[in-house]
Structures are given as C-alpha cells and as structure tokens.
C-alpha cells in the first residue's frame, strides 16, 4: 500500500505530497499514470539532520503542477530515471552538489564539477574557507589540491 500524504500548499499554492522513501518509485509511477509526464525539477535540500528531495511534476494535458517530497537519513534515494529520462542529468547534478546517491541511476557521476572535487558545495557544512584546485596526475585522474590561503 503506497502512502501519499497531502500537506498544506506552499506560498505558490501548489499541491504538496509527501511519500516515504521506500514508496517513492510506486508513488511516482502512479503519478506518471495519472498524466504527469513532465518531471520539471529535482531539488535536494540539506536540512542538516536529513536530506529532503523535492520533485516538481507537471502534466501537459491537465496543465497542473504538483510537488512531491521525500526525505532520507542516509543520503540515498531511489532513482526515477526509469520513469522520466530528464531525471538523468538532474539526479547527477544533485549528486554533484549535495552528495545524494540515487540508487539505480545508470551513470552517476559529477556533472558540473570536475571528477576529483572534494566535498559537496551545497551542503550546509561545506567549508568555504578552503580554496581547492583540481589537477590531473600522470595517469589522467583528477585530484584536488588545497590552497593554504584565507579563502572566502
């Protein structure tokens, strides 16, 4: 039984639904079958003690826009790439910025930052005082080196 709880709408007056992480895939499939064929946006939010993942779904036929939320304590969320192809790059970006592992993603790599970057910039505990550069070693692999300066 998939549990989908409706929450009070946000300030933009869009419907918000909350699902458990385990129910995410069946819940998303049921939304897809209801006509939400456009996954507009995936957002990860670092709530310090947990990570919240927000999906914005849109239906071209019904012209409706809804928000689906789930949360995770161990930084892993099932991937929805099997339902919407646009989830591919969005999930890679959220992995890149927040370190969320999307289980079942076919090619989970960093997308905007270089492969050797250390840390996840949109985490609240990311250390902005460190200045890092990514260099390439003799084998062609990236690695990060740190500048001892003051930083930001």
């Amino acid at each position: 039984m998939v549990e989908i709880v409706e929450e009070p709408a946000g300030k933009d007056k869009r419907k918000i639904f909350r699902v458990k992480k385990e129910d995410l895939i069946p819940a998303m499939k049921s939304f897809y079958d209801q006509g939400y064929d456009h996954l507009s946006l995936i957002t990860g939010i670092d709530r310090r003690d947990k990570i919240e993942v927000v999906y914005h779904l849109h239906s071209f036929q019904k012209n409706e826009y809804i928000v689906v939320k789930t949360e995770t304590l161990n930084d892993t969320v099932p991937s929805v790439t099997s339902i919407w192809k646009s989830a591919d790059w969005d999930e890679r970006e959220q992995y890149d910025m927040l370190g969320i592992t999307f289980e079942g993603h076919p090619d989970l790599r960093r997308i905007l930052l270089p492969e050797g970057w250390s840390g996840y910039p949109l985490r609240k505990n990311y250390d902005l005082s460190k200045v890092q550069f990514v260099n390439m070693d003799e084998d062609g692999n990236d690695y990060a080196s740190f500048d001892p300066g003051d930083g930001w």
Partner: protein
C-alpha cells in the same frame, strides 16, 4: 598474405570546449564512424560558478544580480523569473505599473535573445551576413535598456516589489520607434535566411525531435513548440500581465531545425504584438511597492517555499526558493531550460554527420551562463 585489419572501427573525437560552433564552452565527446556520429556525450561545467550557493549567502535583493549573469543575452527575463518566485515567498505584490513595465522589458529582452541566436545560428551554418543585420537591430534594444537601467547587458533593472526606475517619455518614444520599424527590418533578415538554398538544405529535415522524446527529456520552449506541442507558460500559467494581452503561440509540426527557426522568428513578431498593446496600457501610479523600498530591502524575511516559473526565450525558467525566516534564502534552485534542452542532444546526435551536429546543437539555443550556472 596478411592484410591489416582495422583494430577499432570507431574513432573517438573531442570537440570543444573552445570550438567556435559550441557557443561558449560546450565540450562534446564524439564516437565517429567515418564522418557519422554514433554517440555524442555533452560535457558541461566549464562556466560553473555555483550561483545557487552564492545566493544562499546573500540577501534576497542581492541574489537578483546573479540571475542577470545566468542567461546574459536575456537578462531581463531572468530577473522576472527570479522575482516571480521571490515575491511570492516574501509576500510583496508589485504595483500594476511595474508589472506592465516588466512585461514590456521581458518581451524586448526575448527579442534581443532571439536576434542573437539567429545571428549565431547563421554563423554556425556559414552565413556571415545576417549576423551584422541582427546585431544592428539588437543595438536599438540595448539602447532602450541603457536608457532605462543604465547598463547594456547585465541590466539589474527590476527589483523586489517593482522596478529600479520609472519609464520616462524618452524610453516610451524609443520603444514605440523600435516596434514601428522592427517588423519590416526583421522580414529583411528573415528573407536572408529562408531564401538561401544552403540554409534550407542544411536545416530542413535535420535533427528530428519526436514529441514523446522531447517531453520525456523535459524539453521546453521553442524546442518543444518546434516538436508540435502547443505549450507556453505565458498562456498555461499567466504571470505578470500576459493574461491581459492578445498573442498567439507559434507551433511547428516539422520537428526539425528549420521548424525551430520558424518558431523563434514568429515569436519575435508576437513579442512585438505584445509590446504594442502593453505600451498603450501602462497605467499611471507608483512603480514600486513601498513595503520594499531601498532602506527596507535587506530586511525582507521569507519563510516557507515558493516555485515561480516563467517563459524565458529558451524555455521554462523556474526558480524554487526555500526560506527559513531569516533575511537570506535557505535554498535556491534554478530550473534552467537549456540544461534540459541540452540533455536531449544525446538522442538528437545519433547517426548524424558532424556538420549536422553543429546545426542541431545550434538550434538548441545554448547559453552557457545558464547551463552551468
């Protein structure tokens, strides 16, 4: 006798990031069979500045600056997109005059963006002449932006609760002058394109994007309308004053590069139509909400969440803001249309010639400030 057999049939080729046809810093990893592309993988991030993080560290009103720098040829639409979300979150409603001014400026900005695209697309396909014509037309628009805001590209014209300064008679005269002369000049430029056999043969039937593929990849904007989906945020969820003006949504059922070109051309003419109506409808009154005057601007607090979406020249531009009750946003997330539109290049770039790949990637209308943010 032994004959030497080719060890590997395919050749890997790196294209960009410093290639003139990649509109900035797009890098493509190609797998080639002769001159046919078997697989293409876009590599992005060379212009990444992490605007989302910078916005988290700044006041709401300061975040606006970074939105100018995302789509730098269409900065006024970007500002309208951010304010759509920010004003919902902060609970500040701009006065009607400001909304009309924003509508006009966003549409002029859309024209400027499409003009740059048309010129650059001509360059991609080996046509140098239209480039000079469109930049001459765009210069008139930049003069209007300069008169209104003081700067040409990164205008920072709109602000929370209104606009930075009011329209004066000179700006209104300049805009009227522009919209009267523009359609005729645009048609001249249009003829340079469509009466050129080389342009037609290089775009017609090239880069077919099917409707279901486009929807699955989250493609929006002229790319989606070029694939036969009649969808525009300005009609679907009207913001600013778009429900008070008459205009049409151009749709092409050809699904190819030429179709996308024609959609953008018609959009420019529709934008002129919108501006023509809007310029006569601007009411008198204040141009900013006194709740957000300059001295109070940094004290604005937002709590909750809001998602605002607008139609930029590239597609659906969405901003998702989460506030925690302080003067700075807790999380800023940008739905960049070109980021999604570029991801479909992996589908479009299968089994095409390298020269066609340039035509296809040009037709996406890439601006890397926005893809990489």
């Amino acid at each position: 006798m032994e004959t030497t057999k080719p060890v590997n049939k395919y050749v890997e080729l790196n294209m960009g990031p410093q290639h003139p046809s990649t509109h900035g810093v797009l890098r493509l990893k190609l797998l080639l069979d002769g001159e046919t592309v078997k697989r293409v993988e876009p590599v992005i991030g060379y212009l990444h500045r992490n605007a989302e993080k910078i916005c988290e560290l700044d006041y709401y009103c300061d975040s606006l600056l970074y939105f100018d720098r995302m789509d730098y040829v269409n900065s006024l639409s970007m500002e309208a997109g951010f304010l759509e979300a920010a004003e919902k979150l902060l609970g500040i409603e701009p006065p009607e005059r400001a909304k009309w001014i924003r509508t006009i400026m966003a549409e002029l900005s859309r024209i400027a963006s499409h003009l740059v695209w048309a010129g650059a697309y001509g360059l991609d396909l080996g046509m140098l002449t239209p480039f000079f014509y469109v930049f001459d037309l765009r210069e008139q628009l930049l003069n209007i932006f300069t008169e209104a805001s003081g700067s040409r590209l990164l205008t920072n014209y709109m602000s929370i609760g209104g606009v930075y300064q009011d329209f004066n008679d000179k700006i209104i005269y300049m805009i009227k002058d522009f919209i009267n002369s523009f359609p005729k000049k645009l048609e001249e430029v249009f003829n340079l394109f469509v009466k050129n056999d080389i342009f037609i043969s290089r775009t017609k039937g090239i880069g077919i994007l099917e409707k279901d593929v486009a929807i699955s990849y989250g493609v929006t904007g002229p790319m989606l309308r070029g694939s036969g989906v009649d969808y525009d945020v300005r009609k679907a969820e009207p913001y600013l004053m778009y429900d008070k003006v008459n205009f049409d949504i151009p749709v092409s059922y050809a699904k190819d590069c030429l179709g996308r070109f024609l959609v953008r051309y018609e959009e420019m003419r529709q934008s002129v139509k919108i501006v023509k109506q809007a310029i006569n409808k601007i009411p008198d009154g204040p141009y900013f909400n006194p709740k957000a005057k300059k001295s109070l601007m940094i004290r604005l607090r937002g709590e909750g969440e809001a998602y605002g979406r607008t139609e930029s020249s590239k597609g659906e531009f969405g901003v998702y803001l989460v506030g925690d009750g302080t003067v700075k946003p807790y999380r800023v997330r940008v739905r960049s249309p070109t980021f999604k539109n570029l991801s479909v290049l992996r589908e479009l770039g299968k089994d095409v010639m390298i020269a066609d790949l340039v035509a296809i990637s040009g037709s996406i209308d890439l601006v890397f400030g926005e893809v990489d943010r």
